[in-house]
């Protein structure tokens, strides 16, 4: 029983971190309706950044977020300007191939600069918290709390601020938004950069838990895609729920079946959800977007 409890708790916590890594993807999809296939490489770059700050400056990855989050915002803005924006009014496949090319390019630059070695940071918290028979890794708990705070803050921003309303207006009717004076290209840029900044935050939260290497993004982006589709593309709460589902399934199947099958099981879960709820757990039919509900 306590093993089961342990697995579920760990699964929920790691799932929260997976969710954080996926929110940027779902946000960008929800507003721009594009999939950034270089999302995993954004994570990789930000993880190297967090690693460098930790190793070279002797700080820790959480503190590194202060620099990494704005740096990733800027990086996202530059990528938007140079690659995404020029492709937006072209056929949809152009963005797909452009971001795929960016992904391969970034992997190779990382390979050249950092080699294929796994890099990690020293442990930050000496020991786990114990609640009864259950052990909780502090890094996981902290990551989970950051995810919850982030989700709540993002929802609040979209619901109440002028920027949030402009984002929703843009999603609901882009032309009408422009007629009302909303600079839609700017909203797209801010959203893409904001989504990238969120990946930066996720990278800082993940660095204490995982090693970084040039193709680390591939492992995680697959999970992120599953989470985003599971949750209903464009749904932020959905990403949180999807992340937790994936985390729990992975945790249970790794223990009871075999670690190697962990991924297989959440893809099976994914297939079932797609069969019975094709718009995702919280997605609405035909409304694969942010703010397309009251």
């Amino acid at each position: 029983m306590s093993t089961l409890g342990q697995l579920v708790i760990s699964g929920i916590l790691i799932g929260g971190i997976y969710a954080l890594m996926s929110i940027g993807l779902t946000l960008i999809f929800g507003v721009l309706r594009i999939v950034n296939f270089a999302h995993g490489e954004f994570l990789m770059v930000a993880m190297y950044g967090a690693w460098a700050i930790t190793r070279l400056l002797g700080l820790n990855p959480y503190v590194a977020a202060v620099a990494i989050v704005p740096a990733m915002f800027l990086f996202g803005a530059i990528v938007y300007r140079m690659i995404i924006n020029p492709a937006l009014d072209k056929p949809h496949l152009v963005v797909v191939f452009a971001t795929m090319a960016l992904s391969i390019f970034m992997q190779n630059v990382a390979l050249m600069m950092m080699t294929a070695d796994l890099m990690d940071v020293p442990p930050i918290f000496g020991r786990s918290i114990t609640i009864g028979p259950i052990y909780i890794k502090v890094e996981l708990l902290l990551g989970f709390i950051i995810t919850i705070l982030c989700t709540v803050a993002l929802q609040w921003m979209i619901k109440t601020t002028y920027l949030g309303k402009a984002i929703r207006a843009t999603v609901q009717d882009g032309e009408a938004a422009m007629l009302m004076g909303i600079p839609v290209p700017r909203i797209f840029l801010i959203t893409f950069a904001g989504g990238s900044a969120l990946v930066g935050l996720a990278a800082c939260v993940m660095m204490p838990l995982f090693s970084v290497f040039p193709t680390v993004g591939l492992n995680f982006v697959l999970i992120a895609f599953v989470i985003v589709v599971l949750g209903g593309m464009g749904s932020i709460e959905g990403a949180l729920l999807g992340g937790i589902c994936v985390g729990v399934v992975q945790s249970l199947s790794s223990y009871y079946v075999a670690p190697a099958f962990g991924q297989m099981f959440f893809f099976v879960l994914f297939l079932f959800v797609m069969i019975f709820r094709p718009n995702g757990l919280l997605g609405q039919k035909g409304a694969a977007t942010i703010g397309m509900n009251e």
């Binding site: 309303k165 402009a166 929703r168 207006a169 938004a177 007629l179 004076g181 909303i182 009251e294």
Partner: protein, 234 residues
């Protein structure tokens, strides 16, 4: 106030407007009428900076507004209420109005403007929390105009505001337009409801296949034989 000179507008290679020139003086209500597919909405969207490419000049207070993107025009005083209202359907009345006041100058006085809009359109005040998509057609049209007023326009472009409205709303709407003029607004209005609009407007232009074919005082056009047969169906 608003002046259009030798405007040719295109959707890709297809030309829809041909050498259109018109002007709207400050405080005037000017109507634009014409059969379906004449290019009325095309003209409105072109003035607002969307959809088409064009040659010719669009001047607002003597300044060319062509270089400005669609989203920069409201802050220069020009706002379009497009065909079919185009509200933000999942946002409530208040949010739609707030978004109307997006440009900085309008936002800084949004609270005051909101009171004015509520006074002008009391139905919106009663329903401020209702989701726009769930309102009746007439209410939606009032909201679309209210939202545009939140931007503090000097020139308001209205594209078929009475489309699909019950007669009571049609009357309300024309009263509102007269009311707006009293408040100093300049209005260019596209209407299928030719009889009604020519009574209200100071002047009117008739658009046919992308050409301006007639212009004159509203009352004069009402009695024009050619217009009667072509558009009033008399």
């Amino acid at each position: 106030m608003l002046e259009v000179r030798h405007l040719n507008a295109f959707y890709g290679p297809v030309q829809v407007l041909h050498d259109v020139s018109l002007s709207v003086a400050a405080g005037e209500i000017v109507a634009l009428v014409g059969a379906n597919a004449a290019g009325k909405s095309t003209l409105m969207f072109t003035l607002a900076g969307l959809r088409t490419t064009h040659t010719g000049e669009i001047l607002l207070d003597g300044v060319a507004i062509d270089p400005f993107a669609a989203y920069e025009r409201p802050s220069r005083g020009l706002v379009l209420v497009p065909e079919r209202r185009r509200l933000f359907p999942f946002m409530n009345v208040l949010e739609n109005l707030e978004v109307g006041a997006y440009c900085p100058a309008a936002r800084s006085v949004a609270r005051k403007t909101l009171d004015e809009v509520f006074e002008l359109l009391p139905v919106l005040a009663e329903r401020r929390k209702q989701v726009a998509g769930s309102m009746s057609g007439g209410e939606q049209q009032m909201l679309a105009i209210g939202r545009a007023l939140m931007a503090k326009p000097r020139v308001l472009l209205l594209d078929e505001p009475t489309e699909g409205l019950a007669p009571i709303y049609v009357k309300l709407l024309f009263d509102l337009i007269v009311n707006l003029r009293v408040k100093g607004l300049t209005v260019l209005i596209v209407e299928q409801n030719v009889h009604h609009v020519l009574h209200t407007a100071d002047r009117a232009y008739v658009l046919e296949n992308g050409h301006i074919v007639m212009e004159g005082k509203g009352s004069a056009l009402l009695n024009d034989e050619r217009l009667k047969t072509a558009y009033l169906g008399l």
